[in-house]
């Protein structure tokens, strides 16, 4: 754990390129002298480092960049028999169809609402849980709780969905009975469109909050202990210490995690939503991911669904750059 912590701390402190470093880093480390001039000299000097880099570059080239060739079917009318090259070129036809489709506003709305709910509720909860765990002084208790909250992360969505179906089953699910008796209602949570989003967010929290604390706990371990001692001497209570020392101490980690989370925001999770969708809640449940599956795989509209997927990725890129720019504007270190 401590190795991870150190690596992370140094990463956060020194990981940025020139110019973005806001000078917060307390331990300035001089970079080794870089020979300028001819590339061959430069290369000869760093050949071992380049060799180390090679597997990564090859991996990205082969498994990440080469398949992007397939994205070209978004601009074609792809028929498997004709192949990627043989299929006729249709330009932006699929994009036009998608944007003029009556489904589009609904999909965009559903995706964004779920994304913001996840970001607005699940993300802060991760930090809160990490802070709570950090305050636990009894090591054995802390470790046990940590292990317990990690476990749901390793269950597949199919299992989470089955559990939900059992817990919320109409007329006999324990949570169905409990919640309805507390609220004095008779709601079928599994098919009521109003309860779809709370259910999805709840599942997300249950499954992934614990796992998400790992990075924050690592960052928390790097916060300078002297500051706490000083604060205690000054008479600061627990909440004051969390507010004025802990949170500022992990601020850059929070920003980095937030940018990453926002980049993933539109990936609302195909499996989870697909499993919880039914005819009665489809109006709020359809998101880009399920739509791509439905149209692309079950209807064989590969080109069209690739276009939808590509659009989603573009939105993701815009969000990452946007958040990163915002983070820098507010004088925080961004991700890149």
């Amino acid at each position: 754990m401590s190795q991870l912590t150190d690596a992370l701390a140094s990463n956060i402190g020194h990981g940025q390129g020139p110019g973005t470093d806001t000078g917060k880093s307390s331990k300035p480390r001089k970079p080794p002298k870089v020979p300028r001039g001819k590339f061959s000299v430069h290369f000869a000097h760093y050949k071992w480092l380049y060799l180390l880099l090679l597997p990564g570059v090859v991996y990205f080239a082969v498994f990440r960049y080469a398949p992007m060739y397939g994205v070209s079917i978004a601009f074609k009318d792809y028929v498997p028999f004709l192949g990627v090259n043989g299929s006729p070129w249709v330009g932006t036809q699929h994009f036009q169809d998608f944007f003029s489709n009556p489904d589009f506003p609904r999909l965009l709305g559903n995706t964004l609402i779920l994304a913001f709910l996840n970001l607005g509720i699940a993300f802060p909860l991760t930090i809160v849980l990490a802070l709570l765990l950090n305050e636990v002084r009894l090591s054995i208790l802390k470790r046990t709780v940590q292990t317990l909250v990690y476990i749901p992360h390793f269950l597949s969505w199919t299992i989470v969905a089955s559990l939900s179906f059992l817990l919320f089953a109409l007329d006999f699910g324990p949570l169905f009975l409990f919640l309805n008796s507390v609220m004095g209602t008779n709601i079928d949570f599994l098919s009521d469109p109003n309860w779809f989003r709370p259910l999805i967010v709840l599942q997300e929290i249950w499954k992934n909050t614990g796992w998400g604390t790992i990075i924050f706990l690592a960052a928390l371990a790097t916060v300078d202990q002297d500051q706490y001692e000083a604060a205690i001497i000054d008479g600061a209570g627990r909440f004051r210490r969390v507010w004025h020392i802990t949170l500022p101490g992990i601020r850059s980690t929070i920003i980095v995690m937030l940018i990453l989370a926002i980049g993933q925001m539109l990936n609302t999770g195909f499996e989870q939503i697909y499993l919880m969708t039914n005819a009665l809640n489809r109006s709020v449940a359809d998101v880009f991911d399920t739509y791509v599956y439905f149209v692309g795989i079950t209807q064989g509209a590969y080109s069209y669904s690739t276009a939808v997927g590509l659009f989603k990725s573009l939105v993701g890129i815009v969000l990452i750059f946007g958040t990163n720019a915002l983070a820098k504007r507010f004088n925080q270190s961004g991700l890149f």
Binding site: V79, A169, L190, N278, A279, L280, S283, F294, Q299, G300
Partner: protein, 509 residues
């Protein structure tokens, strides 16, 4: 040192790559077709082994090396498309239906047009031209269809509950309502509690998927997907009978004669409420009768008779029987042009399929190997008990090999002899009832026709109506909402589908 290691690594990579290519490099194009490769789905947990007894017997009977590429049923369609896009294409592909993916490939010329070819082969010439027509794409036959029983719809109910309450087997949809009401309100299990309901319906929304809703609509006279009215074809959901049928179902939902979680109930658990004495009626295919009987038999081998009763299709409120048939086929065996390049080769492949469709191979694929896993008793295949390792392997394998069976001239293999007299009686009665219902079958007049608009967005369009139907039944929208959804179907592209289907229908009439 390091350089040597690197070159070693490079060598390993090269060798691996080469052996991979060696694996995927297609077979030599043999003019005499010594090897026939077939792609087929398997429904069991494991595909049959390539050196099993069934495989050997199949190669012996056909005189070819038969190379079957088994692909899991669940991802079969993806695999079909991937295979078509690859360079390793089999001679014969089992295609599971006229999916948009298949239609696009076929129209791009991926498969041989067999319309005028099949006549020349005695075992491929169908005795059911209507079904062959159904399996075609606008009259063009792209494969040898896999025949299936055309009549399968049945209503099954707890016979012991019927006896206890003194009820008679339903004949009409009104009777179905009465039985469902009695099952719900008259405590058929006699435990003094109000804990039973009538009909169990699982999460099953799609239009035209032989769902309980589709069946009841057809019994009401709404037609089978498409209905002829005033010289035009309209989707069955635009008929008045469709609305009537759904009012009827909604009444049963409102009176709690149907399980309240019908929109979400897991279809794989469909038998459970029936078996556990919660919901006493299932509307589905008749083969489920045997599945249910087996459940009771496993629970109590001495007392399982008269637990399950069934009838076939029900008469509608107009006093007539509109029985619901399937399209009569389950996909087809198509021949890709990129692996079978010439007419001469095509003839060889068709000859092979002709042999596959002969009686001997049909028995092998469906019954197994005589003397190993079954014997013939009064013209029926009786399984040999006790099972040996060998017979078990054959019985398991044929569940997958049956996927290769076409039976376009009717079933030439032996009917299966049921393990007990009671089960044999039920089986015979099923056959009888279905044969009788088949006379009143109302077919889908648009089955052979594929509209271009429907290919590109049919599933989304149909979802509009299918979801609205469930919402209406659940009370989320009223009848006007259902009608609005049907209007939306039309304005979102459905009117174009109608136009295209009608044109195809008129042209081919």
């Amino acid at each position: 040192m390091i350089r040597r290691k690197l070159s070693l690594a490079a060598a390993v990579v090269t060798v691996t790559a080469m052996s991979l290519t060696a694996c995927s490099g297609g077979e030599a194009p043999a003019a005499d077709l010594a090897t026939v490769s077939i792609m087929a789905p398997f429904l069991e947990a494991q595909p049959p082994s390539a050196d099993g007894a069934v495989q050997k017997k199949l190669e012996e009977l056909t005189g070819k090396d038969v190379n079957i590429m088994w692909a899991p049923n669940a991802s079969y369609e993806d695999k079909t498309n991937i295979t078509l896009a690859s360079s390793e294409i089999p001679h014969v592909m089992v295609i599971q239906g006229k999916t948009p993916g298949f239609v696009k490939n076929a129209e791009a010329g991926a498969f041989w047009d067999l319309t005028d070819k099949l006549e020349d082969y005695p075992n491929l010439k169908t005795s059911f031209p209507d079904i062959q027509q159904n399996a075609s794409i606008n009259g063009k036959v792209y494969g040898v269809f896999r025949g299936r029983a055309p009549m399968r719809a049945a209503v099954m109910f707890r016979q012991d509950w019927m006896d206890k309450l003194g009820l008679e087997a339903p004949k009409t949809t009104e009777d179905l309502y009465k039985v469902a009401k009695a099952f719900t309100e008259q405590d058929p299990d006699g435990n003094g509690q109000d804990d039973t309901w009538g009909i169990t319906i699982p999460k099953w929304g799609a239009l035209g998927s032989n769902s309980p809703y589709d069946l009841i609509e057809e019994w009401y006279g709404a037609g089978n997907r498409w209905t002829e009215k005033d010289g035009k074809l309209i989707p069955s959901f635009e008929t008045e009978e469709f609305l009537e049928a759904n009012r009827f179902v909604k009444k049963m939902v409102d009176e709690k004669l149907i399980n309240p979680d019908f929109a979400t109930f897991d279809p794989t658990k469909w038998n459970e409420p029936f078996f556990n004495g919660k919901g006493g009626i299932i509307v589905d295919v008749d083969s489920r009768v045997s599945v249910l009987i087996n459940l009771f038999k496993q629970a109590d081998p001495n007392n399982f008779e008269n637990k399950v009763g069934f009838v076939g299709n029900l008469e509608g409120p107009d006093g007539e029987l509109h029985a619901h048939p399937t399209d009569g086929y389950s996909g087809f065996l198509a021949i890709p042009k990129s692996s079978v390049r010439t007419e001469a080769e095509l003839d060889k492949v068709l000859e092979f399929l002709n042999t596959m469709n002969g009686k001997e191979v049909a028995i092998l694929l469906n019954n197994g190997i005589e003397g190993v896993n079954f014997t013939v008793e009064d013209g029926k295949a009786a399984s040999i008990k006790p099972e040996t390792e060998e017979s078990k392997a054959v019985t398991t394998d044929i569940k997958s090999y049956a996927q290769l069976g076409m039976n376009v001239g009717g079933n030439t293999f032996y009917p299966v002899k049921q393990p007990t007299d009671y089960e044999q009686q039920v089986f015979d009665k099923r056959t009888e009832v279905m044969a009788e219902d088949l006379k009143s079958a109302v077919y889908n007049p648009a089955a052979p026709y594929v509209s271009a608009t429907y290919v590109s967005k049919g599933a989304q369009l149909d979802n509009i109506v299918a979801d609205a139907r469930i919402k209406y039944l659940a009370g989320q929208i009223d009848e006007q909402g259902l009608k609005d959804a049907i209007k939306l179907w039309n304005t979102s592209g459905g009117d174009k589908v109608k136009e295209e289907i009608n044109k195809l229908w008129q042209d081919n009439k």
